[in-house]
Amino acid sequence: MTKSSLQPVVVGAGPAGVRAAQTLVSYGVRPVVVDEAPRAGGQIYRQPPSNFKRPAQTLYGFEATRAMAVHSTFDTLTNQIDYRPDSLVWNAQSGLLDVLHGPTQTTHRLPYQQLIVATGATDRVLPIPGWTLPGVYTLGGAQVALKFQGCAIGHQVVFMGTGPLLYLVAYQYAKAGVNVAAVLDTAKLSDQLSAMPALLTQPAVLLKGMYYVAWLRAQGVVLHSGVRPLHVLGQTRVQAVVWHDGKKELTLACDAIGFGYALRSETQLADLLGCHFAFDPLQRAHLPERDGAGRASVAGIYLAGDGAGIMGADAAEWAGELAALALLTDNGVAVDSARAQVLEQKLRQLQRFRTGLARAFPFPQNWAAQAPADLVVCRCENITAGELRRTAQTSGADELNRLKALTRVGMGRCQGRVCGVAAAEILAQATGQSVEQVGRLRGQAPIKPIPIHLVHASAPGVNA
């Protein structure tokens, strides 16, 4: 096969997608790059609208150099790629993608021979009563408001949950002059201490994290660890948050909350493409299988970045480049194999650090057992934890898609992006199984809402 006959498509223009595209271009290949956002960068390096003026240092802090490198790399590629911003891949099958162009609300079919899937991640959410109130956002959402719109989600903000993003977003808000009322971490200090040896394998990253915590403390921001979030109070908006500190219940007035428990991968496209999935105990999630270079189980499909398992932005850049090199190799293009080996090694070396992060910010495994019956798990359709448990017990449903069919959890507009993790935890707890055993929500097209007339016009056979 010659380079000119290659027709690769890259889905996603975050750190993984940008490096993948750059690598393909550097070998004389012209990829199509499809991205849902209007500008490249993904979520972590998301760019504000073009008329905004804050410098990269303000927007991205310690990551400014990396963010600018990703942005400027992509800017140099625009004449050498077929770039499709504002474009959502809403369906995928062998050799063909369905793409919705947002501004014109038109959909078209995009053929591919090779596909690099770099679809990124969203916050992993474990709800508590009151989480649907206006003023409660994900940690990532709170960050987007600030970075992308120059807005704060409130005047007295509590950040809650666990994970590296918890302290980063709190730091960014405090830096922007917003009153951070408290940072409530479900992880214990002992978790973080026991993770130290593994975290020390990436000393620069660890130092940044420690800096955020120390800076917040120096500013007088209240930091609590080992908490159990109980509920959010308010009638039509957030008024306070209540948590348990191991000894007693505490209440703190606030007008906004950002919360989350690390990240979850966006795996719907890999699923629609028929990729094999396997359970990853570290991430407590079913993830598409890939080899060390990013090859999925389906020939011609490559997976890179957080969309195939959470490894962070630096790893996403390496994985994007590596997936592109694998794609080229598989099509007979002679690539710099030494470079590929270096990238594989860097990714392998990061594993120990990721294990450390999972230990430092552990998933609260007893969340499901403590979720009250009236807790809304599905915020699309208001389905409660009690309803899920009752259905599991009365119907014998012991698998997540069966529970979905019976209760509609995961069937609403978010397609389980928000509720999927929580629903799996509830089902596992209610049926005495592991999260691995209850399975994962199957991806369905359209993977995000699209106008119904477009589905019928463009994709016969797709049941909306």
């Binding site: 947002g102 409660v136 120059g150």
Partner: protein, 101 residues
């Protein structure tokens, strides 16, 4: 603290020296800034974007990145737009699903 439902949810901490964009919010004249999403345009003026179809309770988005689909707003002509990823345009007529309870 602003706890009245009519009070804005979001407030600007930067980038406020942009040109203004006139639009209407629940029939009343309103003003946003060029580059605002519909979510920003609405929530810097009031406390909700919509009402949930199942609970009828107010909602104001959640993920801000096009994943949760909890920020779809209606226009006066019945069109539905995802507020976190759609930029405001002059003359848009946006509706938030009625006054907060």
């Amino acid at each position: 603290m602003n706890n009245k439902p009519s009070q804005p949810l979001l407030h600007r901490v930067a980038e406020s020296d942009r040109a203004t964009v006139p639009f209407t919010l629940d029939g009343q004249p309103a003003s946003a800034l060029v580059g605002d999403t519909l979510l920003t345009a609405i929530l810097t003026q009031c406390g909700q974007l919509r009402r949930n179809e199942f609970s009828n309770e107010p909602r104001a988005g959640f993920c801000m990145m096009g994943a949760c689909q909890d920020c779809w707003v209606e226009t006066a002509s019945g069109e539905r737009l995802r507020a976190c990823s759609t930029l405001i345009e002059p003359g848009m007529a946006l509706c938030t699903g009625g006054p907060s309870a």
